[in-house]
């Protein structure tokens, strides 16, 4: 067991974890942050995407001990005082989700995408979301949501 101290969604937590525990397991099982989900065992689906010190990572690909001393933001830490994050609002507005299983990861990845490139074109958005699978939406509306959140004109 290893002791770690992590700031998760703004709150400092301290825990004993097994060295093999994944960050996604730590979030879900130890902290009850079940907004972050697991869709695969090959780091391909992106459902588990969170921010580690502000950058998106697949939390099934990071050990909990690697988060020691760092800051983690999950989908549950985005909305402030009941106000949706603009990316969440854009997903809602553009109907960029259906079952919603990929959504937390998609939203986290999309935010990071705009951090790097505040005005991406459609191809850049598609490339930027390549690591996140969605089976429901056909991506069309997800692309529109990212365009909307970036303040760009959206063609239907």
């Amino acid at each position: 067991m290893t002791r770690i101290e992590v700031t998760v969604d703004g709150a400092k937590v301290s825990d004993e974890v097994e060295p093999r525990m994944l960050l996604v397991q730590y979030l879900r099982e130890k902290l009850g942050k079940t907004g972050t989900v697991i869709g695969c065992d090959t780091s391909n689906c992106g459902a588990c995407t969170v921010h580690l010190d502000g950058r998106s990572v697949k939390s099934c690909n990071v050990l909990a001990v690697q988060a020691d001393g760092h800051e983690v933001t999950t989908i549950e830490g985005l909305a402030q005082d009941g106000e949706l994050h603009p990316m969440q609002a854009a997903f809602h507005e553009c109907h960029a989700l259906q079952c919603g299983f990929c959504t937390p990861g998609m939203v986290m990845q999309s935010i990071d995408l705009l951090n790097d490139n505040p005005k991406p074109d459609e191809q850049q958005i598609r490339q930027g979301l390549e690591g996140n699978l969605c089976r429901c939406t056909g991506y069309h509306n997800i692309v529109r949501a990212v365009q909307t959140a970036s303040g760009q004109e959206v063609n239907k």
Partner: protein, 826 residues
Amino acid sequence: MTATQDAPSEQLEIGRDRRRKEDQRLITGRTRWTDNITLPGMLHLAMVRSPFAHAKITSIDTEEAKKAPNVVTVVTGKDLGEEQGSLPNAWPITPDQVAPAHPPVAIDRATFAGEIVAVVVARSAAEARDAAELVDVDYEELPAALDLKEAANDTTLAHPDLGTNKSAKWVFDSGDAGTGGNVDEAIQKARDGDGIVIEREFRQQRLIPAFMEPRSTVVDPTGEQITMWSATQIPHILRFLLAAVLGVSESKVRVIAPDVGGGFGGKLQTTPEEFITMVMARRLGKPIKFTETRSESMMAAHHGRDQWQKLTLSAEKDGTVTGFKVELTADLGSHVSLIGGGVPVLGAFMFNAIYKFPAYHFSVQTVLTNKAWTDAYRGAGRPEATFGIERMMTELAAELGVDPLEIREKNWIKHEEFPFTTVAGLEYDSGNYEAATAKAKENFGYDELRAEQQQRRESNDPVQLGIGVSTFTEMCGLAPSRVLGSLDYGAGGWEHATVRMLATGKVEVITGASAHGQGHETAFSQIVADRLGVPFEDVEVLHGDTMVAPKGLDTYGSRSLVVGGEALVRAADKVIEKAKPIAAHLLEASPDDIEFKAGRFGVRGTDQGLAMAEVALATFAAHNLPDGVEPSLDSDATYDPVNFNYPHGTHLCAMEVDTETGAVKMRKYTCVDDIGNVINPLIVAGQVHGGLVQGIAQALWEEAVYDDNGTLVSASFVDYLVPTAADTISFDIDHTTTPALTNTLGTKGVGEAGTIASTPAVVNAVVDAIRKFGVNDVRMPCTPERVWKAIHHSGGGEPTTEAAKPHFDPASGDEGTADRTDGASE
């Protein structure tokens, strides 16, 4: 009492782009996935799965596993014996169907790679998985039936004790049914005279539904009632079958499908994992959870499609079709699953699509193999049928050298001919293929793209352009019960709804159609808001819990809105009827003088009236009701439609094919769907986008591939190519409106339309691009390798401007077809 409340706004909810109610929890991570559920003292399961496609289990040593930390027990199929029951097969399509017994845990023989042979129960999921590695199983490998065509000949037996792999043969013949003529005669006539006969053999490869939320089940046996949470599409059917198979009283089982992360037919199943979790929870008296890994999901959740189609189409020289003969061989996998045996039969009614075929014959031979079992996958039987006919109509056009839309127009049912009884015996109530096609052509820029194609052909451009056409229809809204019964399906197709006016004026709506991403809470709120004249926000839709919604037949086959939505309308109308005498009494008017409009009961010819909310409160208080009137504004309705309904559409696709590398790239996709009246255009567009990508994926990328040993080599998202945002494009979608005549709302289903229509549109486009090399087919998925081979096998690698040669002569019919290199997967 007189009116005190303003009548709600007259703006109708139906037809509005309402943002979804369900988004809030999904977007903020406050979701209720099954795997999120943790109960005090909960145990966890891990499955030990066979690595062999077919093997005798000679012994299982569980001792080491039992000694592992925090392991509670390890059981084998033998240990469970009768207690585990046999998984249900609800659709024996013929009385003599051959179906092996299906214990959830294999007892002495494993029949596909991935089948469960032992179960570990431990205090944590990780400990259960670790211990599962310690279970020592001795197998004696048996020859496996893997190739579908060989299996159909009983070359190797999937279940030696059955003596055959042939499960059932189901036949429809229009001559016998009296709906048309004799196909063999029509084909012979075309061969003898100067007609045309097109013969093709198409492969519907095996697909994996690949819902994003892996399947998960939690069972809590404590208390009076056993509660199961499951990531399922069918909580009601599951409850019934758990009770029936395991001998528990139905009233003692509660099934909850909380938020469910996609299904696409893949969660329309009663799974071994659900039965095992239930049996173990009852045995141990403790809550238990099982959540599968992605690779388990790909190996052992059911697969879809997997057919060979032998098709023969006869026509006159002017392109008028005279007969169509369909011979299918369908792979069921190792067992006959819940409705898997009947999936190809659903296709029987759709091979004639939108056309007036004078003679039609359909037969399917279902076959057992040593692979994962197959069952419904988005469209279930109808995508396979639509692919077959839309490819054939395109080949007929190519043969005659005419535009593929022209050949369709020549044969389709004209707008003024509806209602129309098809050669397959269905009555289409409404449709307008002309309107959808005209709009699609225009939106797509059909003529311009055809001109560009011609120019690229003539200039021998290394990148050729192909245009694919698919004018589809489907039967959706799975019901009517009587029809399902006539096809030997084990259940009905009705749906149930409850509408309750609450004292606060809010409305509680309960539906048996439980959603997994379709937005029922929003669309159903819109329907009820209009019907009762209450604000959209005041309607609360409850579903997915058999204790809350005790009756229902769940969500599949695009039936929620057309069957479940209509049940809601009827329940709401009953509430209005119940409220009328109460309102009359309160207004001191005769019930005959009361009219209900926009949420208000008014007295005809006066400005006197009461809002629905006021009547609801007065009913709740019950201080002053007419004599003998029940103090309740609750109503139920169970609706069983008289007919399926028939959405249709015209899909057009432009594909660029690099003739030097075989790489294909989508340039444009336009579709115009006609699903009758639309409740929520935003939701409908989303369903179309998602459906399109699933259908395009079948055409271009996805395939479940087994190797020569029967191991699934595409058992992860590394090898099974679910498309990403970067693989796809934005779509141009639109609709025409021809209301359904068989339900009040005038709606038709849309969930499967995109998938059904897009696969043939894409393949038609790929073939169209390279037809000039003498190519008349490319097998799916159209990988660069297959496309390249198709070009170079028949064209000797030299581009030619010659038109594709006729291919209807069987001797040359296979010329342009790419060879499969992975023969073992057949």
